[in-house]
């Protein structure tokens, strides 16, 4: 029972961490709270199936073998995010963070309704990699194979990103831009390259979340990115806006809290799990308004 809980917490927390990282990367380089991130996830989900408003979903790209499919969906997610940056956020480069946030909210609504028009409003059943649902026995717990793959994939992604941010030139530039964008530009960091790079990474991470969601739930729904985006936002705030490691830690923490609440709450209170979760977050913020891992640059300077 308790080992089972550990796996649940890790898998859920891992997904939340990846989603939170997608939000924090963009916030880091351009102070944009991306309200369209949930729709990036939904778009990557719907890229799997052929556009039609019929109730029955026909797999399009989703029918491809996994070694082709996974990179392709990641590319689609990244491409969509880069396109959104070029069309919407680049013209708004000098706008205030509040205006950027409202703009991303509008972009999210536009994308959602575009999906609604193309695919219809009803959730559709999509069976992607159904064979991964079978349980594996580990000590006392029986864990779905998918959960193990998710945990492993999240670990690989986080390690890869950490390596990239520390070792590669683009990673170095991104960290510099997150620290002080104006100063980084003066020292020869090209802003368009860094920002496009951050969007591409963020879109790729959204696509990872999308694949995991579809494989877990077996459903494609226009609204499916919304809830996870909200959790990701909360994780970035709790972790301290702009701190990447803070976002990952908070994402894992919220996933664990969520799994614990699901197991620990009495049955009548279980539907309200998310309400308890959000209430808890507001409580945490009461004591640490800057978040748990606030970066040095977060305080306004006079």
């Amino acid at each position: 029972m308790s080992l089972q809980l550990v796996f649940d917490a890790l898998a859920l927390g891992g997904i939340y961490a990846v989603a939170a990282l997608g939000i924090a990367l963009i916030f880091g380089v351009m102070r944009l709270v991306n309200f369209a991130h949930g729709q990036f996830i939904a778009c990557a989900v719907f890229a799997l199936i052929v556009p039609s408003t019929d109730a029955l979903a026909v797999l399009g790209l989703g029918a491809l073998p996994a070694p082709v499919l996974v990179p392709l969906i990641l590319l689609i997610g990244a491409g969509l995010a880069v396109l959104a940056e070029a069309l919407v956020f680049r013209p708004m480069r000098n706008a205030s963070p509040v205006a950027l946030m409202v703009g991303s909210f509008a972009l999210g609504v536009a994308l959602q309704n575009l999906l609604l028009a193309l695919y219809g409003g009803r959730p559709k059943a999509v069976s992607l990699w159904a064979e991964l649902g079978q349980p594996v026995q580990i000590a006392s717990a029986s864990v779905p194979l998918l959960q193990l793959i998710v945990i492993a994939a999240v670990a690989v992604i986080l390690a890869g990103l950490a390596l990239m941010l520390r070792k590669s030139r683009l990673g170095l530039e991104m960290r510099a831009a997150a620290e002080d964008f104006t100063m980084a530009r003066m020292l020869g960091v090209r802003s368009n390259r860094v920002i496009s790079g951050a969007f591409a990474l963020s879109g790729g991470l959204a696509a990872v979340v999308a694949l995991v969601l579809v494989a877990q739930t077996g459903v494609a729904d226009v609204r499916m990115g919304g809830q996870i985006m909200l959790v990701a936002f909360i994780a970035t705030v709790v972790g301290g806006m702009g701190s990447l490691s803070g976002a990952v830690a908070a994402g894992l923490g919220i996933g664990a809290a969520s799994a614990l609440l699901q197991a620990g709450l009495p049955a009548d209170a279980r539907p309200f799990r998310d309400a308890f979760l959000y209430g808890g977050v507001i409580l945490v913020l009461l004591f640490r308004p800057q978040g748990l891992f606030a970066p040095v640059g977060a305080k306004p300077r006079v």
Partner: protein
Amino acid sequence: MTSQHRIRRRMTATTPVVLSLLLLLFVLAALSLGDRAMARMAAETLIRVTFVVGFWVFVGNSGVVSFGHAAFGCIGAYVSAWLTLRPEMKATLLPGLPEVIAAADWHVLPAAVAGGGVAALVALLTGAAILRLSGIAASIATFAFLAMVNTIWANWTSVTGGTSSVVGLERYVTPWVALGWAVAAILVAALHAASASGLALRAAREDEVAAAASGIDRYRHRLLAYTLSAFFCGSGGALMGHFIGVINPDGFYLGLTFLMLAMVVIGGVGSLSGAVVGVLALSIAVEGLVRLEKGISVGAVTFALPPGSQEIILAVAMILILIFRPAGLMAGREVMLPARWVAGRASRET
């Protein structure tokens, strides 16, 4: 120089009057067209004015975008429904209500005020936590608040009816009732904006550090504006419920949040007039788009926009406004009578 200042003060005082007259003209124009659909559209628009002006009291003065105000509408609508529905109906529909509320059979006006009052109380309690955060983090926390209220309302079936709608609300909201509330909201918003607290809040919006150095306690003024704005969003929600006759938690969720934000952004968040103009402009545009979605027959050909295009067009319009005219249609200006008209006595005195 004082007379210059006095003229300026008088001009500012004319803003709510001019806006109220504008809304009166709007109602008269809509009613004189004689169409029942137009009368409904006018009433709905004025309810939105109540809502958006309430929203603006906080967002416009504090500069913090709130995603949570739709939740106050939800609270107001349900409180009003709890207080006005017939007791025998409540016994079957909402068996979990406490004794006092289950027996209540209030008149609609105090119920709408109570709806606003409860929303304001919730705002006071949650705002005390949320508004300690910095601007962007506070916005995200309001979003969490919205999701929290929606989760509770959708699952607490014995008290809220859950995701199935609560029906049978008395439909008393005519364009005139809505006009009354809209004018009240505009008056209060203008009074608040001109008050010491409103000024202090706008000062803190422009320069947090300088305002703090001048002894302004930003948190207190924010909380006051948040509570006040929740009152009008709550009563706006009550009006909305009694206008449609059916309420549902999802009617007060992201769709309404988007509409309110779009109205404030397109009209211009910098001024009260911007909020009102935004509501009028968008309501007329939405009405036109809805009719286009239903289809318009030109001769033998029916021409219709695909469903959902209304939101897409609004969202694109919003992005274009943000890129090309970031201050909105009114660009932060207020509508007011020209100086000549109000100067009269003041200029003779000097």
